[in-house]
């Protein structure tokens, strides 16, 4: 194995739920323990920690745990760590860790994302909602118009796609239907009920064209991905999955100025980093905070022409578990819970290792893509089992 390669060698997931009582730090420790056991590594072998977006004191439900919390709590002796929101979306933390191990700054890096948004809503005294007397930064251009949710911002991309390219609600529905069908085969998914097209079409609207089922829901969980250096693989027992390429780009940082989601620029850039092509990809895990976002990834990564994403998923057969391009095989965020990007990498590795049980994609898949971000920020990982 080449030193100048990076591998995912362990994955971990805490209990996933809505309004969990276990603390966010406790959930993070649970996920770390599972990932270490999976990799066959001990705490003393960890020398790096990375996260997105780091602890946010003013918005603890969104991000309650940072690198320093984990380093202190577990007594880690790190040579390298990084955490912050100003990076290429959530999976950018894993891309950073891959760069760090390739450069020799660390050998085994814990990458984590902990979310506590459901519990925070129920316990506002401990986890106060984001309340500002005045808005500044990018928020000042949207919040004064009560465009308070990413649902409002993303919905406008979707409206434009409908008008310009003819995307229909029936096509959009396939993302949610596929997510629910796959979640039913994932014992750790928060959604347990199947969804019919009638259910979808009659659901209440959130922000047109998005109905309730187009939006992920607040979840409490921690996801851990361990990234290891290529020359440290003899220290692990878990099946390594190579980080074959990473990309992330920002066109306009402001949601309100971006012409489209960052998926397009990031998708083009990913293929510049590798000899693989879209035809080599066996399955995809596309960020689906909102059902429209996977359509932008399908187009941005060249699985179909720009504007053809709706027709590509028409009827849902192509993206089903037994389809030509299985998508969001664990249920995605719409079905498995809002793990905020890291769930995409977790599921991709699970599938490439053949560990996905009732939802395993047949034919021993070798190459997968995981993405995160649905606005101007975007990140993509190309993962390969050699």
């Amino acid at each position: 194995m080449m030193r100048h390669e990076a591998y995912i060698t362990g994955i971990g997931l805490s209990e996933v739920g809505v309004r969990l009582s276990r603390s966010p730090l406790g959930l993070t420790v649970d996920a770390v323990r599972e990932a270490l056991a999976d990799a066959g590594l001990g705490f003393d072998q960890i020398d790096g920690v990375a996260t997105y977006p780091g602890r946010m004191p003013a918005f603890l439900g969104f991000s309650p745990v940072g690198t320093e919390d984990l380093i202190e709590t577990l007594g880690l002796r790190t040579r390298w760590h990084a955490g912050g929101g100003e990076m290429t979306a959530q999976l950018g933390a894993i891309a950073l860790a891959a760069a760090a191990v390739r450069a020799g700054h660390a050998r085994h890096v814990i990458c984590f994302r902990t979310v506590y948004e459901a519990a925070a809503l129920a316990r506002p005294e401990e986890y106060p909602p984001l309340r500002r007397k005045e808005v500044d930064g990018a928020s000042q251009w949207t919040a004064p118009y009560f465009a308070l949710s990413a649902a409002n911002w993303t919905a406008q991309f979707a409206t434009r796609h409908m008008k310009r390219y003819g995307l229909t609600r029936e096509q959009l529905a396939q993302v949610a239907l596929n997510a629910h069908a796959n979640a039913a085969r994932n014992p750790r998914a928060i959604v347990k009920k199947p969804l019919s097209l009638d259910d979808y079409m009659s659901a209440r609207m959130i922000s047109t064209p998005f109905c309730l089922y187009d939006c992920d829901r607040f979840t409490d969980a921690s996801t851990v991905i361990i990234v290891s250096a290529g020359d440290a693989l003899d220290e692990v027992t878990g099946v390594p999955v190579r980080v074959a390429a990473t990309a992330g780009s920002v066109d306009r940082y402001s949601w309100d100025q971006a012409e489209w989601a960052g998926a397009y620029a990031t998708g083009r850039d990913l293929w510049r980093q590798t000899d693989y092509t879209a035809a080599d990809v066996d399955l995809v895990q596309f960020y689906d905070g909102f059902a429209f976002q996977p359509i932008t990834w399908l187009e941005g990564l060249g699985f179909c022409e720009v504007g053809e994403g709706g027709r590509f998923i028409e009827g849902g057969a192509r993206i089903a578990l037994d389809g030509a391009l299985p998508m969001n095989t664990g249920g995605g965020q719409l079905g498995a819970g809002r793990l905020h990007g890291f769930g995409m990498a977790h599921e991709a590795v699970t599938q490439l290792r053949g560990h996905a049980g009732a939802r395993q994609v047949a034919g021993a898949p070798r190459v997968a893509i995981a993405t995160s971000g649905g606005g101007p920020m975007a990140a993509a990982l190309l993962l390969a089992r050699d």
Binding site: R132, D136, L148, Q156, F157, T208, P209, D256
Partner: protein, 134 residues
């Protein structure tokens, strides 16, 4: 919408935008060297990097670039539904303003509709809103 609008924090860069309505003006940061607009406002032109930038009053007409009808009450007391839109200004190429389209039924708005700015005062902030052009 019955609850007060979130209030932008005024600073040297954004003051002309958020208070220009007091004089009936929609001010967008403009570069005297290259003629391009920079929005959100910054002290440097994002096109030619000149610092010779200043607020310029534009016509206040535009078209709906995209929109959504919001139905979710994100905060207590917020009346729904209402239209959130991204407006492309006619005479400031490349500038988009997120705003509300008011004065018409929510289902009367479509991409491409011509709109005209109108201001809504709340304390010392003059929020640029848009109505359909007559």
């Amino acid at each position: 919408m019955s609850v007060p609008r979130p209030r932008p924090k005024l600073d040297a860069d954004n003051r002309a935008f958020w208070t220009g309505g007091a004089e009936g003006k929609l001010n967008i940061t403009h570069c005297a060297d290259c003629g391009e607009f920079t929005h959100p406002p910054r002290p440097v032109c994002r096109h030619c990097r000149s610092e010779n930038v200043a607020p310029k009053s534009v016509a206040g007409t535009g078209r709906v670039d995209s929109y959504t009808v919001n139905h979710q009450p994100w905060m207590p007391g917020l009346d729904t539904p209402f239209v959130i839109a991204r407006v492309a200004l006619d005479d400031a190429p490349g500038v988009y303003l997120t705003s509300n389209i008011v004065g018409c039924p929510v289902d009367a708005v479509d991409i491409g509709d011509a709109v005209q700015v109108r201001f809504e005062q709340q304390d010392d902030i003059w929020y640029p809103l848009f109505g359909k052009a007559v």
